[in-house]
């Protein structure tokens, strides 16, 4: 059958499935724990800065950003968005935030704090804490502050210093940022202890931090292997495996083992020149979040020889740094998270590309993963995921003569992404990629 063949256009990693199953199981376990009355925190994605601490304090964590995706896929987001509109929130705000406002409004006003019956995947129970973060986007703390309209839940905002590229290399700045984060994290632990009426078990924290660091290291190594030609692992596997590290889902020790399995499989493929697609004609980068509901378009593109070899910087693990000599677990967390944000600044400084975190990494990826084109997917109601893309497009052309294709989508209005439109643009974009392959050759680039 044609469809059967189409499904095989991407050769998925076998080792990804057990990890994915673990991810799905952890959602389920989490729902059960919450039903059983375990205290819950709603958290913004925070690049491990707060997650590891919440985990060590044995809080169940749900991510309203992630829940936004779930509601969108379940077709329920629209009703929550309408409700947020009716409650007076401007329609241009982050789609995930509006989804959360609508959901919370319904939960608090109509169900007295109980989960509304239509909520997908078990819903989000009323939390004891809202953990906001100022990494990357203002919405991520303004949104939790605004939830005060519906429920009297305390908010803690995690601080993330983010100096400019040049400024980071001024004397003492790096360590000052770390000190600032550590001080804030210590305050956060004290606050949590007061809130929960129990003490932090520092040995658990210590171990969880170490496992998280190692997990990120292994996951980074997996992605390093994707520089091989042909690329052994397609973006689809990245997106399936990513939540386990990004959200620290499930038991981190188990997750670590599963990432090791992925490493072994990908390494095997590299050693044996096995690509993720049958015939790799074009290597591509993908940015930002993928259109989760129509991932099939990746398969259609794979049939044309498009291999997606690297994706959005924000969801990738940081470039590993040696933290074994750092005894304070809070400092290790701070250094890990800080590295995730500024890990590319040194190169950015040398190349005078001052959008050092969201933008510049794509240039490094272009050279290292030798991609022929960038597939840019701005998300209309997620400003932060879209702001840098114009610049990325401009920089890639200016510096390495790599063209981009831009196809708009959204995080909650799934209809915005039109896979047919994306596919219709594939052929002309192949001509563009061919053209720039020649240009790069003429200009002395090695891909």
């Amino acid at each position: 059958m044609a469809t059967e063949e189409k499904k095989k256009a991407i050769s998925r990693l076998k080792s990804m499935y057990p990890l994915r199953a673990e991810v799905d199981k952890s959602y389920q376990k989490s729902v059960e724990a919450m039903r059983a009355g375990k205290p819950v925190a709603w958290a913004m994605v925070n690049w491990w800065e707060g997650d590891v601490i919440l985990k060590a304090m044995d809080l169940e964590v749900v991510y309203p950003e992630n829940f936004g995706t779930v509601c969108a896929s379940a077709g329920i987001a629209e009703s929550y968005l309408d409700r947020a509109d009716a409650d007076g929130f401007p329609t241009h705000l982050c789609g995930y935030s509006r989804n959360t406002f609508g959901y919370t409004s319904r939960m608090m006003k109509e169900f007295g704090g109980e989960i509304p019956p239509e909520a997908p995947m078990g819903g989000m129970p009323k939390p004891v804490l809202l953990l906001a973060s100022d990494i990357i986007c203002d919405a991520r703390y303004k949104w939790f502050q605004a939830l005060g309209r519906y429920m009297g839940v305390p908010v803690w905002t995690l601080e993330m210093p983010i100096p400019g590229v040049k400024e980071l290399f001024m004397e003492g700045v790096y360590e000052r940022c770390i000190n600032f984060m550590v001080k804030e994290l210590r305050e956060f632990v004290t606050f949590l202890e007061r809130l929960l009426g129990r003490k932090m078990d520092w040995s658990i924290l210590d171990e969880t931090v170490n496992t998280t660091i190692e997990l990120n290291r292994v996951w980074h190594e997996v992605n390093e292997l994707r520089k091989a030609k042909p690329c052994p692992m397609h973006s689809r596997d990245f997106w399936s495996a990513m939540p386990a590290s990004f959200f620290l889902l499930g038991d981190v020790k188990d997750t670590l083992e599963l990432y090791r399995d992925i490493y072994n499989e990908v390494k095997y493929r590299v050693d044996n020149h096995i690509g993720a697609i049958a015939e790799e004609k074009y290597r591509l980068a993908f940015s930002e979040l993928p259109p989760w509901h129509s991932l099939g378009f990746f398969d259609r593109l794979a049939e044309r020889g498009w291999n997606f070899v690297i994706e959005s910087w924000a969801y990738h693990p940081p470039i590993p740094i040696d933290l074994s000599g750092v005894s304070d677990p809070l400092e290790r967390i701070a250094r890990l998270t800080f590295q995730s944000q500024v890990g590319y600044f040194e190169g950015a400084m040398k190349e005078r590309e001052y959008f050092g975190y969201m933008g510049y990494p794509y240039l490094v990826y272009a050279r290292e993963y030798k991609y022929d084109g960038a597939f840019l997917h701005p998300l209309i109601t997620c400003r932060s995921a879209s702001t840098h893309l114009k610049y990325v497009q401009e920089m890639l052309m200016r510096k390495v003569k790599v063209p981009s294709i831009v196809i708009e989508g959204d995080i909650v209005d799934l209809r915005l992404f039109d896979p047919a439109d994306a596919l219709s643009k594939a052929e002309p974009f192949e001509e563009t990629m061919e053209h720039y392959k020649k240009v790069r050759k003429e200009e002395g680039f090695d891909w």
Partner: protein, 389 residues
């Protein structure tokens, strides 16, 4: 060149051609330093004999150039600033001091730094919270700014000089507040349109010149007989940046006087003085991080509170708006924001809750910072004014 016009006429003149005076000063050998938002501490520039010059957008111009670096669904003010930067309207600037106020601004200035070359460019990180550790971190950041400014200006910045600059800027703050006092009578002695022209002029010229201008304006306004007419509505506007009088004229051509405001083209930069501390940077750090009231900063009613009381939260965050409303005898509030502004967009419904709790009529308006938006705004404002009239 000595200014021939004075007071309000002079303010209007500067408003209409902001770069003119800056270019004159540049010709005299001064260095002009741009800053897009009030979180850049002008005092440091003044103290080094640099001229701080606020970067504004221009809502009368389409923002085509900005497409090179920013998406369409993005803060239109920032898009406009980048557009003007890319087409060369700010080429006379010798340097830039930019701050991490909101994220739209932070990301725009990184793009700016990549695409528009400038002899000097400093990015000042601003924490999201006002915790003690945040204040300490911010203070050290200000010291870094001082260092790079010193090497750019080619001279040292002593504590004494910085204190004198703070005093001059505090004098400006106090004169601005005096000017706002003139809006308390009914009818107000100075209109919202005139006030915006003055504030925009202040943000385009050296502080001492601005102080002189303010004194002239205050004297002139007190003496003149042809000020604004009495009208039934006395409005307050809370807003993202307002930098064009057409947004104010909409209100003042309706049956309303705009008597007080809360935005960064109005009171926001001037409402509290910088405390003169032994180390002047302490006062600056506290002022810019803790005292400036912009929704970009996360504020708690009680630091580290383990329970949350929404009304107490609102009171601690917006109590100053109640003071404005009382002091200026306001009977209606316009909440306004440009589209795609997260900071003001999330804040607006909460301020609305607060104003509702005070029984103050209010309305929320949104626009895309273009001339095309004015007609719809006019209709909305008129309807609101009629409602409270």
């Amino acid at each position: 060149m000595v200014a021939e016009t004075k007071g309000l006429a002079r303010a209007r003149e500067i408003y209409q051609d902001r770069p003119r005076r800056a270019k004159e000063l540049k010709a005299e050998g001064k260095k002009i330093v741009g800053y897009p938002c009030i979180y850049s501490p002008s005092e440091m520039m003044t103290a080094l004999d640099l001229v701080p010059y606020r970067i504004f957008g221009d809502m009368k111009e389409p923002t085509a150039e900005a497409d090179r670096g920013l998406p369409a669904a993005f803060c239109p003010i920032m898009r406009s600033c980048l557009h003007l930067g890319l087409k060369g309207s700010y080429d006379f600037l010798d340097g830039m001091v930019v701050a991490h106020s909101c994220d739209a601004q932070e990301k725009t200035v990184h793009v700016w730094e990549c695409l528009i070359s400038s002899p000097y460019f400093h990015f000042l990180d601003v924490p999201g919270t006002v915790h003690k550790a945040s204040q300490d971190y911010f203070k050290e950041g200000l010291k870094d700014l001082k260092k790079t400014l010193e090497s750019f200006a080619g001279k040292e910045l002593s504590s004494e000089k910085l204190k004198r600059a703070i005093e001059a800027h505090n004098q400006q703050r106090s004169l601005v507040r005096e000017m706002y006092e003139l809006r308390k009578p009914d009818p107000p002695l100075i209109s919202g349109t005139e006030t915006l022209q003055v504030i925009k002029a202040l943000m385009s010229i050296p502080v001492e010149e601005g102080n002189e201008l303010l004194k002239q304006v205050i004297t002139e306004v007190k003496e003149r007989k042809d000020g604004p007419q009495k009208k039934p509505a006395r409005l307050l506007i809370w807003s993202s940046t307002i930098d064009d009088i057409s947004l104010i004229e909409i209100i003042e051509t309706a049956e309303a006087n705009l008597v007080v405001d809360d935005h960064c083209g109005g009171t926001r930069a001037y409402w509290t003085d910088v405390k003169l501390t032994e180390d002047p940077i302490d006062g600056l750090a506290y002022h810019y991080l803790v005292e400036l009231r912009c929704p970009r900063t996360y504020m708690d009613a009680v630091y580290g509170e383990t329970s949350k009381d929404y009304m107490a939260d609102l009171e601690s965050r917006f109590g100053y708006i109640k003071d404005y409303a009382k002091g200026w005898n306001v009977n209606g509030v316009i909440l306004q924001s440009v589209r795609y502004c997260d900071c003001h967009g999330f804040e607006a419904p909460q301020i609305k809750d607060y104003l509702d709790s005070l029984g103050l009529p209010n309305t929320y308006l949104e626009h895309d910072y273009s001339e095309g938006a004015l007609a719809a705004l006019r209709t909305r404002v008129q309807a609101f004014v009629e409602m409270i009239g």
